[in-house]
Amino acid sequence: MTKTKDALRQRELTINMGPQHPATHGVLRLVLEIDGETVIKCTPYVGYLHRGTEKLCENRTYLSAMPLMDRLDYISSMANDVGYCVAVERLLGIEPPERAKFIRTMMCEMTRISSHILWLGTHALDIGAMTVFLYSFREREWIMDLFEMVCGARLTVSFPRIGGIRNDVSQEFLDSLYKFAEEFPSRIIEYETLIDQNRIWLQRTKGIGVISAEEAVNWGFTGPTLRGSGVDYDVRKYMPYDAYEQVDFDVPVGKEGDVYDRYRCRMEEMRQSVRIIKQCIEKLPKGPIMTPDAPKFTLPPKDKVLKDMEAMIHHFVMLTKGPLTAPVGEIYSSTEVPKGELGFYIVSDGSGRPYRMRLRSPSFVHVSALPRLCVGSLVADVIANIGTIDVVLGECDR
């Protein structure tokens, strides 16, 4: 009798965290084996949000597949769209005009800020700081309004197009965005006043989830999660796309590779984003927003469609069959989304649809490293670790 009791007492406990746990940011399920308060095994289960994006793309034209990209990482839809457009443009060998490039870059950085403030709010909420959450949503709303002003949608924007952007921005938008860029740094200071030095925050984040630079690279980390460990890899610098070559910005890196350093990295990134936005507005040239040199791959201007026979045929073919003269081949193209490096591997067989499309999503890679971060730590730190890799399950499960 006593023997069984002892055996019971000493057994490790297996608990199920998620898929409906508010701190798992969506539908991540972790099976934790714990010994008292210490995690001894952690197994992530993903796939609850699987929608088959890669397969769905094979049945859609390059244009019609874009709304699916909005729904990968739904809090940074603009950056995904831009990534997708850049990939298809590289495949088709076309280049968007300067104005479109600057507007896209601007949008990407707005997305970065919006994604990072959502991350900051929820991460702080998980760890126990409620106020930051409320303040960060105030600014997020501002960005959402700006998105609505430019394209009529707040979250799933579908704004960029292959070869340019959907519509031009208004003067009112540019002024409001500049106002935002002027005021936002003071808001970052507000967040920092609340948590930067806060002793509870420091205790919950410093020295937690430490990963060395070498290990982070080996795990395939990208984005701020990698830069927190001191590696200055950023696709925007190493393989510039759109207007990133023409703007000036720094890539903040951390030292220790713990939760706190990754937090600092993201805060600095927001400041850099503001810098990029300002430069983009100041340098924004006049000109076309859709490339005029690729009539076979882009939609013709609306007024031509009903007057010009050729334009009309292109219009019909582009919309029903896709760009039928797409080159045969394959391409891998990656862009820096707020979570890390989003890669598109597209195989084209010359028809208007991708023959195969593979997405390399940063969240999936980061989730796979959760056991490495969590094993040996306390149960409470699992929450901090999930927050720090900034996982969005829509992108992870695709």
């Binding site: 949608a153 208004s170 002793r199 340098k283 919309l319």
Partner: protein, 183 residues
């Protein structure tokens, strides 16, 4: 340095700073909205409920070419055409399942005639599924309800006209015009 740290720790300085900030925020204007009582106006060009547009005589503009149905990523538009009395094409049924719709506005972009629009109306929740299945009459009614008068024309002019003139450099394009801090 050490002594300074100890003083900071004992005096809870960073906590007091945080508290001061929240106290200050208490006296600023509320940013939240009492939603159903204070509705929020959508921005022009908002992608909400669909409408089929009418011309000046109140006739439906759609000719039933089917481009919108072809481009629709979620394939939620169904068009049935038939032959009219004078052997012309008439749109018999035009149906949109708004529950499937992504509100991507590709249909608006595809339509060569400007026959379909997304209105600024977004509050149309209901208890039954049927009310989200929009047929031709409902869609035409939406145009009268939400795009009446000049609004419909403005919509196409403001948001869909630029798409057609983008290829020439427009003089009125928005650019940075300097920043005045007091604005």
């Amino acid at each position: 340095m050490k002594a300074k740290d100890i003083i900071k720790r004992v005096l809870l300085l960073e906590i007091i700073q945080g508290m001061a900030l929240t106290l200050k925020t208490m006296f600023t204007k509320a940013v939240t909205r009492q939603y159903p009582e204070e509705p929020r106006a959508a921005m022009p060009g908002f992608r909400g409920l669909h409408a089929l547009s009418k011309d000046e005589e109140g006739v439906m503009k759609c000719v039933g070419c089917g481009l919108c149905a072809a481009v629709c990523p979620s394939q939620c538009i169904k068009i049935f055409t038939a032959q009219g009395l004078n052997h012309e094409k008439v749109v018999e049924r035009y149906e949109i399942d708004t529950l499937k719709c992504l509100f991507c506005a590709y249909c608006v972009e595809a339509c060569p005639y400007g026959a379909i629009a997304l209105t600024e109306h977004y509050e149309y929740s209901d208890y039954s599924k049927e009310s989200f299945y929009m047929d031709k009459d409902k869609l035409l009614e939406n145009w009268d309800k939400y795009m009446s008068g000049d609004k419909g024309n403005e919509y196409f002019k403001r948001f869909w006209k630029p798409m057609s003139i983008d290829f020439n450099t427009s003089e009125e394009q928005a650019v940075f015009k300097g920043w005045d801090n007091n604005k």
